[in-house]
């Protein structure tokens, strides 16, 4: 009987060890990078990162802000570019830890209001004002550390609208936007909580529309018709040709995969995550590195038709007007 008990214990321990080891060892990473630019920016950058939260409200709704930045920011010789992050509906930076830390590891300061209704973009602009104040506060870790000539925005779902709205209402302060899963205008409640067509068509800056092929209900590549902007292609086509623009869909990614850490974990089904954040790390980071840090090699990856982006295995529905 003792032997049997021991055998059962050994089996249980072995099974537990197996359970712990298998996800890391046997997991096949979805949307792995292929080209050198995607591979470079898919990996974390050189900086260790720190996350902090404002002790006071940073926006007009009374929300605090989360800030992700290189840990050694005080000892760096240069000011760092700033990325304003806009959360999807009902979300905060807590839902995007891997993506936001990844950006900080590449030398961006990332500020994210904890607003859960960011579509208008006003609280995103509030977070910019908060960081401008931090830059002039000698007691702040961001005192004279931010390069306000290189400010970008990015956001997810409703936050994609918020990031774009922030750029178009920033009178040129925000230079570029990356939208993740920008919803059809069908999904806007109220309508102006989305990016409105006149706002987009009158805008300036640059924009990279990113979606997933498994998000066909909310942010599909193409649409059936109508006058609303109900697809990534419609958003892209409505973007003025005077703006630098690109669009691509990550294969198999659904609406919430950017919330992965980096996979979806055993509880991924609770947040409707399927593949995880993996595929989103490379080109979106490269776009920001090009636009805000001047990495021309990263920019060349988006060259219309011939750039590396157009042969990447993990992407489809790609188009750009990058010369």
């Amino acid at each position: 009987m003792k032997r049997l008990s021991r055998a059962i214990c050994i089996t249980l321990v072995s099974a537990t060890a197996l359970a712990a080891a298998l996800p890391a060892a046997a997991q096949s990473v979805p949307n792995a990078p292929t080209g050198p630019v995607e591979t470079q920016y898919y990996a974390n950058g050189a900086y260790a990162t720190t996350q902090t939260r404002s002790t006071v409200a940073c926006d007009s709704k009374g929300n605090q802000c989360d800030v992700f930045y290189p840990t050694n920011i005080a000892s760096l010789n240069t000011r760092l570019p700033l990325v304003l992050w806009a959360n999807g509906t009902g979300s905060t930076a807590d839902n995007y830890p891997n993506w936001l830390k990844h950006l900080a590891s590449w030398g961006f300061i990332v500020v994210a209001t904890r607003d859960q209704q960011t579509g208008y973009g006003n609280t995103v602009l509030d977070s910019l004002a908060y960081m401008q104040a931090q830059d002039t506060n000698p007691a702040s870790p961001f005192y004279q550390r931010i390069d306000f000539a290189h400010v970008g925005a990015a956001g997810h779902s409703q936050g994609a609208s918020g990031a774009a709205n922030a750029m178009f209402h920033s009178v040129g302060v925000i230079k570029t936007t990356v939208t993740f899963e920008l919803p059809n205008q069908n999904w806007c409640n109220p309508a102006d909580n989305c990016l409105l067509t006149p706002t987009l068509t009158g805008g300036s800056g640059s924009i990279f529309y990113v979606s997933g092929t498994a998000d066909s209900l909310i942010a599909p590549d193409t649409q059936s018709g109508g006058t609303q902007l109900n697809s990534q292609t419609a958003w892209y086509n409505a973007t003025p040709s005077t703006m630098l623009k690109a669009k691509g869909l990550l294969k198999g990614a659904n609406h919430n995969d950017i919330t992965g850490t980096p996979g979806c974990g055993l509880l991924g089904f609770l947040k409707a995550c399927a593949n995880g954040v993996y595929g989103y790390l490379g080109y979106p980071t490269a776009w920001l590195a090009w636009q805000l840090k001047g990495d021309a090699v990263a920019g060349a990856a988006f060259k219309s038709g011939t750039g590396e982006f157009f042969t990447a295995n993990a992407w489809q529905g790609r188009v750009s007007n990058i010369p």
Binding site: A15, L22, P183, N184, N186, L217, L249, A272
Partner: protein
Amino acid sequence: MARISLIVAFLILAAVAAGAFFAWPRSAPRAPDAGAVVIQPLAPREAAPVPTPVPSPSPTRSAIEAAILDSMADPRAELRDVVTRRDAPQIACGEKRTSRDPVFRRFVWLGHLKMLATDDGSQDFGNILAVCREGQAVP
């Protein structure tokens, strides 16, 4: 000998169970448009003009209706004919009107994504509406 056989059988069973657990596909990514149902374009449902909506909080309002109303951030918004999908209770469909748009229009609510789509009379909304049917793929 019998004990040894029993232990070996148990070990095999445990290994098979562990393997099956980790091999089980989780939310396998779907191909573009998987589960989409092409339906005929639905004519915009023009409800009769109604008076300006007034708040009508109901003590029996379901949690899902409360979540939908919260997402609209409009204290004057109203819902009617709300039906949740029995096989996917996070999805609800019905009609809504708001202070800015005081005509009842069909909506689709994806509770797990906190997303609310409104009927604009387009075929795209028709495609979205298909998710209200039981058995359809859940986004």
